[in-house]
């Protein structure tokens, strides 16, 4: 009879420890109450039909004690839980990327190197893995019990989660947000492998090229390259080097060009217009590119580093409005 799931990630043991801590406190608390009631029920059972006990109205000291002490104990729960949650909130900078798209009722996984899987995820142990999650339809949730991680996958945006697998093995992957008919069929397996095995596995797949290559193909196919010339200013902002940089918008705001920004620019281009450019030029690609395709485009755009120039002309201020520098890493910095 299994009792605890295997602890196969870097945070799993700590989650389990916290769980044990709460369990022990709860068992003690419950036992105390049960025992006290049992003892009172027996010791003070009614012995004659007319007995009338003396009233005890209350005790301020007791009330304070049994309010404050439990609350302080609960604060320890809160604190430890918040620590774990906080530590798990942002992936480490060197995390490897994986992309998972949930759709009724399957998980479609893509690796930057180009492999694609359905309902399977392969990861190396000992390396942080950042999963970028997208949904093509309703809310799903990506749940790996052995790693003690779960994150909802909400349509219309990206969600990310990360973990570091620590034990090789095959572990359940479940969809954990009810999503319709085959919600309970939206399950799969996560395979954690030794790094060398993982390298072997990586090289054995991906006949379509890496995600960046697939993204480049899409970039040509969908006509993006006609306006977004790679190294020349056209009617549209240059995309080389834009990923991760700060972008100045026409309404005065500035935003970081991250995954969500690029996705929005593809699906709803008029939502944010770059300063110095006109609206209504880029058409929307809503409904024409799948979530997977968008992820491929993002990986491609990410791969477009500024060539030749020593990592960004960092020197002095760049004035906004000089087109050729508008999208370098210093764009928007005042």
């Amino acid at each position: 009879m299994p009792f605890l799931p295997v602890a196969a990630s870097s945070i799993a043991p700590e989650v389990d420890h916290l769980f044990w801590y709460l369990s022990i406190v709860s068992i003690i608390m419950t036992a105390l109450i049960f025992l006290t009631i049992f003892i009172f029920a027996v010791k003070y059972r009614r012995r004659s039909p007319n007995e009338v006990p003396k009233p005890i109205h209350g005790s301020l000291r007791l009330e304070i004690a049994w309010s404050v002490i439990p609350f302080l104990v609960m604060l320890t729960f809160f604190w430890w839980g918040a620590e774990i949650f906080f530590a798990n909130a942002s992936p480490p900078a060197d995390a490897m990327d994986v992309y998972a798209v949930g759709k009724q009722w399957m998980w479609k996984v893509q690796y930057p190197e180009g492999q694609r899987e359905i309902n399977e995820l392969h990861v190396p142990i000992g390396r942080p893995v950042k999963v970028t999650l997208a949904s093509e339809d309703v809310i799903h949730s990506f749940f790996i019990p052995a790693f003690r991680v779960k994150h909802d996958v909400v349509p219309g945006r990206y969600d990310t989660m990360w973990f570091t697998a620590t034990k090789p093995g095959r572990y359940h992957l479940f969809c954990a947000e009810y999503c319709g008919t085959e919600h309970s069929g939206m399950v799969g397996w996560v395979t954690a492998m030794n790094p060398s095995d993982y390298e072997n596995w990586l090289t054995s797949g991906g006949s379509d090229g890496s995600m960046a290559q697939q993204g480049e193909k899409l970039f040509q196919q969908m006509g993006c390259s006609t306006c977004h010339l790679l190294d020349q200013q056209g009617r549209c902002p240059i995309l080389r080097g834009v990923y991760g940089s700060r972008v100045q918008l026409s309404d005065g705001r500035s935003v970081i060009a991250d995954d969500a920004y690029i996705r929005e620019s593809i699906l709803n281009p008029n939502a944010k217009i770059v300063a110095g450019f006109r609206p209504d030029i880029m058409p929307t690609f809503q409904g024409q590119i799948s979530e997977e395709g968008i992820l491929q485009l993002i990986v491609y755009i990410k791969s477009l580093a500024i060539e030749g120039t020593p990592s960004a002309p960092n020197g002095g201020t760049t004035t906004a409005g000089q087109p050729s520098n508008a999208f370098g890493p210093n764009a928007g910095k005042q």
């Binding site: 309404d251 709803n268 008029n270 609206p279 209504d280």
Partner: protein
């Protein structure tokens, strides 16, 4: 409920005293508290919509601002004015009831109802205008935002809120007019006196509330993009 007077000897009380109450004062207090509590639930009901609207407006400020040009703030302002005046006439009606002035009460009720109906008439006209202008996303074929296509999707959200919020409000207005009709009939029959005018009082409370909801709706739906022009 079997009718036994727990209140002892005399039968000297208003025929309007319900027998689970001890006296008219308790009945009046209970009725007004009840209406206040009900209005609290209405605040929460409309509040839900205001909240959702605010969330989307903060997400899409420009799209929302672009919708103002399809609203007619003159009509909105006119409607606001009528409702405010109708609240005045309603308050005066309650006062007339309190003072036992039957004729004034009936006249003021009628005035209030006329303003209410005028409000509804203007809203009907506005809805018709939106229908013709293709600004009704609720029905296929009556939504067209090609004048500003970059905002079409989010403008649709605003217009949905416009119709739902003003629609629920109009529904409450219709109920209000119905209430006042009932009160008018009762007033005509001479039901009310300085000792008993509770229905007038609580209808007044309801009417004021419906008015106040509109006062919040008007700037939020009509005046979003108009700030500069007004200053």
């Amino acid at each position: 409920m079997a009718d036994t007077h727990a209140v002892a000897t005399e039968h000297e009380h208003s025929p309007h005293l319900r027998h689970h109450f001890d006296d008219m004062a308790q009945q009046f207090d209970s009725a007004t508290l009840g209406m206040w509590v009900f209005l609290l639930t209405e605040i929460m009901f409309f509040g839900g919509m205001f909240c959702a609207y605010s969330v989307y407006r903060s997400m899409y400020p420009e799209a929302f601002a672009s919708t103002s040009q399809y609203m007619n703030p003159k009509f909105g302002a006119f409607n606001t004015a009528i409702l405010i005046v109708s609240s005045l006439s309603m308050a005066l009606a309650v006062r007339a009831a309190r003072l036992g002035q039957r004729k004034a009460l009936q006249l003021l009720l009628v005035i209030t109802m006329i303003f209410g109906l005028a409000f509804l008439g203007v809203k009907a006209f506005e809805y018709h205008e939106h229908w013709v202008d293709m600004k009704v996303p609720l029905f296929a074929g009556h939504w067209d935002y090609s004048q500003a296509p970059q905002f079409a999707r989010q403008a649709q959200i605003l217009f949905c809120f416009y119709f739902f919020m003003t629609g629920f409000h109009a529904l409450h207005m219709i109920v209000g007019v119905g209430l006042l009709t009932t009160i008018l009939v009762m007033a005509h029959k001479g039901t009310f006196s300085p000792e008993y005018f509770t229905p007038v009082e609580i209808s007044g409370l309801y009417w004021h509330f419906v008015d106040i909801v509109w006062i919040f709706l008007f700037p939020l739906l009509y005046l979003i993009g108009h700030t500069r022009q007004l200053i």
